[in-house]
């Protein structure tokens, strides 16, 4: 167990290091002089020189990278070009709101996808099964931004049940979270169905039924647990993926999260913010994947 933990953690650390290099290099690969871009179109040569010195752009890349990592570890991610405020102060509350959105979408996808998958497996070939397959196919084919616009039109604009845009309350969270959760609902339902169908054919399930156990007990206590192992890992992976996809739900519903802020920063060429936002989401994604590996090992100790 400890060797597994150590190897996976070391791998995650290497990937994190790689992520930091990609993010660091990205700004250095901008066509032209990064100092000019940072200083803005109307900056005087003196200001450009000042920016170059301030960001250490006149030093070798290795030194620049070491400084970048040292500062990032100390929580210093630079200042926003647009506002002049420390990037960490700017992104921290937005990051928290994106995590809340992704967590809510994950919760919705589990609450809907799990029973849907179980029903589809138990009533195999029935209308629930066929409907869940159709829903799953539609779910994996419907981009988040299309689902979001559709939900906004029907539930907010036409029916007026929920707010059209904004943030700050639970009611504001519902639509972005549902639109973000549609794909994982489809993925989870399909996975649970496939897992359950495989387990329900096992000998030990037949034994449990032969013992006279009620079907619900056979299903919940004996069949569901092994079927949930791959599902648990998919849920965790989906959480990481949703941190990225949240950018679309945030754009449609004006949810004040990190994704929306990132797009604004890209349009304004606010590179310190872009770097920090990508680093924050990427690091969370890597840590979520590490958690998946550990969870998988904990749920199924045969994994090596």
């Amino acid at each position: 167990m400890w060797t597994f933990l150590l190897i996976r953690t070391a791998r995650a650390a290497v990937v994190l290091l790689g992520l930091s290099i990609v993010v660091f290099m990205s700004v250095r690969l901008i066509p032209g002089d990064p100092a000019l871009v940072f200083a803005g179109d109307y900056a005087t040569p003196a200001v450009v020189a000042q920016v170059r010195e301030r960001f250490g752009l006149d030093r070798p890349w290795v030194v620049q990278y070491a400084v970048f990592v040292r500062r990032a570890l100390a929580g210093d991610l630079g200042a926003s070009v647009r506002t002049g405020q420390p990037v960490l102060t700017e992104i921290a509350p937005r990051y928290a709101r994106t995590v809340v959105l992704a967590a809510a979408a994950t919760l919705i996808s589990v609450l809907v996808g799990l029973p849907l998958g179980v029903l589809a497996a138990v009533r195999r070939g029935g209308w629930v099964d066929r409907a869940s397959i159709a829903l799953a196919l539609l779910g994996v084919s419907a981009p988040t931004f299309v689902v979001a616009v559709l939900l906004q039109y029907v539930l907010a604009v036409r029916l007026g049940w929920l707010p059209v845009t904004g943030g700050g309350s639970l009611r504001h969270l519902v639509l972005p979270a549902v639109s973000l959760g549609v794909f994982p609902i489809a993925a989870i339902a399909r996975l649970v169905r496939a897992g359950l169908l495989e387990v329900l054919g096992e000998d030990y399930i037949r034994t449990a039924r032969a013992k006279g156990l009620p079907e619900a007990v056979v299903l919940v206590r004996h069949a569901l647990r092994p079927a949930l192992i791959p599902t648990a890992t998919v849920v965790a992976v989906q959480f990481g993926t949703m941190l990225g996809a949240a950018v679309f739900a945030e754009a449609v519903f004006a949810w004040p999260g990190l994704g929306r802020y990132l797009v604004q920063a890209v349009s304004a060429r606010d590179y310190p913010v872009v770097q920090a936002a990508v680093l924050a989401v990427g690091a969370t994604y890597i840590l979520a994947n590490l958690a998946v590996d550990l969870l998988y090992r904990w749920l199924d100790p045969r994994i090596v």
Partner: protein, 292 residues
């Protein structure tokens, strides 16, 4: 899967494909969308860029088949030209992913050792964060624009393509016919292109079809976020985003491009799944990427 017709039960890939009803529907639908993208622009008379404020917000049926947008531009023409932009951008991104990913995967899988470790390590880093984020980062570096978006989305596909090709190459490099070619003194490049690459084609074709759905969605998504370059150029993602502002007054401005994206992705996924079932019957998993 339901059978479309028992009469079509013949051996072979094509018959397997057409027997799968959903696959056939997907193929026909996608062929129709491609036909619209290729032939459509020659058949519509109105200019998709021509502004006519007198026709602004014309509902469907009153001014052309689908009406006009907030600037009075013909929505039918814009949707048809948008099909060309979106499909070409998605296909272009896929082509970049294949052009870079196939050689990388071939060399990494064939050489193994340090080359494999370094290349796959780098690709693992690229795959370690959400694809859409990587695409946004690439657009941030290269600057917003249609070409940039295609390159950015193509770059996101490289690690996936390389990983699939590497996996097949690892298995094929030990195959007897490859060992025989090596023993006969055939050069590495020739072995890779003439003997190993054809063996990679089956998984590569399936990956390409399913990946096309993802590249079309990602390209449209970046257009939706306003990172796709010139907003006047008809593109489904940008059109959806423009229509969002008028959802109450003219919902068709957003719903029609949304439906076009959904139908395209659905058709590609249906066809890709059927192709996967036909080419890799042991791997009946539906592998479309996350549809942001």
């Amino acid at each position: 899967m339901k059978r479309c017709s028992d009469r079509l039960r013949r051996p072979g890939l094509w018959s397997t494909l057409v027997r799968d009803c959903s696959g056939l529907v997907g193929l026909l639908l996608f062929a129709a969308i491609v036909a619209v993208a290729v032939i459509g622009p020659w058949t519509v008379r109105s200019d998709p860029l021509r502004v006519n404020l007198e026709r602004a917000f014309a509902p469907p049926g009153t001014s052309g088949l689908f009406g006009a947008d907030h600037l009075g531009r013909d929505l039918t023409a814009r949707l048809i030209w948008g099909a060309r932009t979106s499909l070409l951008s998605g296909a272009g991104a896929l082509a970049i992913g294949l052009a870079a990913g196939v050689p990388i995967g071939l060399v990494a899988g064939y050489r193994r050792g340090a080359v494999d470790e370094v290349v796959m390590g780098l690709l693992e880093v690229l795959m370690a964060f959400p694809g859409i984020l990587l695409a946004i980062l690439a657009v941030a570096v290269l600057g917003a624009g249609r070409t940039t978006v295609v390159v950015a989305v193509g770059l996101v596909s490289v690690p996936l393509v390389a990983r699939v090709v590497r996996g097949t190459t690892l298995a094929l490099r030990e195959a007897e016919y490859v060992l025989a070619a090596r023993a006969l003194g055939v050069g590495e490049r020739r072995i890779l292109w003439r003997h190993i690459l054809p063996g990679c084609l089956s998984p590569l074709i399936v990956l390409s079809v399913l990946r096309l759905a993802t590249t079309i969605v990602t390209v449209s998504g970046l257009g939706f976020l306003g990172l796709g370059g010139d907003p006047a150029v008809p593109e489904w993602g940008a059109m959806l985003s423009e229509g969002l502002a008028y959802l109450r007054r003219a919902p068709h401005l957003a719903l029609l491009p949304g439906a076009a994206i959904l139908l395209t992705v659905l058709s590609v996924n249906l066809f890709g799944d059927a192709l996967n079932d036909a080419l890799n019957p042991r791997l009946r998993s539906r592998t479309g990427g996350p549809p942001w």
